[in-house]
Symmetry: C2
Subunit: 187 residues, 2 copies
Amino acid sequence: MRSDAARNRETLVRAAGDALAESGLDVPVAAIADRAGVAKGTVFRHFASKDELVVTVVAGLIDDLASRAEALLSEPDPLVALRDFVAAGVELQARDLAFCQVAATAEQQVPGLGDRRERLEQIAEVLAGRAREARAVRDDVTGRDVVGLMTAAYQGASAAGDPSRWPWFLSVLVDGLRPRPHRDAPR
Amino acid sequence: MRSDAARNRETLVRAAGDALAESGLDVPVAAIADRAGVAKGTVFRHFASKDELVVTVVAGLIDDLASRAEALLSEPDPLVALRDFVAAGVELQARDLAFCQVAATAEQQVPGLGDRRERLEQIAEVLAGRAREARAVRDDVTGRDVVGLMTAAYQGASAAGDPSRWPWFLSVLVDGLRPRPHRDAPR
DNA sequence: ACCTGAACACCGTTCAAGT
DNA sequence: ACCTGAACACCGTTCAAGT
């Protein structure tokens, strides 16, 4: 690849990252091209479709999140690790509209992120497993559930009319994860 | 209004309701017109824009949900009433893709539903107030929060890869609403 | 090899022509 | 008064022409 092409590609990814974070998945390709200072056609020389560019950007966001999650593996308190992981995902949704949309129902709309999703689920499963073993959470909490908690907390707060209320939703969810007392046991 | 026009309008709303439930907010106007057996232009004779047609349909769904919620006012157990209300909202999301999208971040995308939202929040506030007074939930739960729980439960399950798992998310959320023990009290 | 911008397809919206 | 379908604007995508 020629050096000017490599530079254009990188500029495009950065411009797309900014535009997607601000304006979400519906941002026109022309707006991204303008921001990068290239013609529309150049976008399609580097990416087969708008979706492929979106996937490149969002995959980078998920990779960053996964790295942060791996750092939490050294947190001694398993419930704190779990909560901080979910909080990191929620903060990313608050900061990046495109990720927020992908994390919500849009996930079906943007295929090609399956592998990143799996990586995230695997780390989440380790965190969930430690919390289960420590009896800090219900024994039926899976890694997938933990990933779902990120979306639940932010979308819940957002639907309640105040996205900044997400810590409240997160605390409700984390409280709700605690092991349930055996109600069917004899009193 | 001429009787044929009234019939067309009603056919359009029904066709739009079906198409939106199945295919979501991105369903083309042409698909709705086809399903109703009219020309595209007729849609815009009855509705100023696609959005106005969408609002008409979704407002009807929310009105139905609000009616179901009002029926729950006669439920004696306030926590059961709260849970059933949220469950009704979740089931609507599972059944209707357009409502699901509106309940998620799309709410900003479809304005004109503010009044319906308020009605729902008011009923939710009554249900929340009863549960608070009965000490069945934390004393900081608002009606808006309860509306947010509907989205949180469904979007959480959906993001966890299995929308049918929503009852699990709902049970976690409802458990999490229980009054927190005073941790700062002397042991 | 790469970039550009004109051209095309698709979809929401408008409107002149019909009934 | 209402309906129709051609026409227009917008945006994702393609590609012939340039460098």
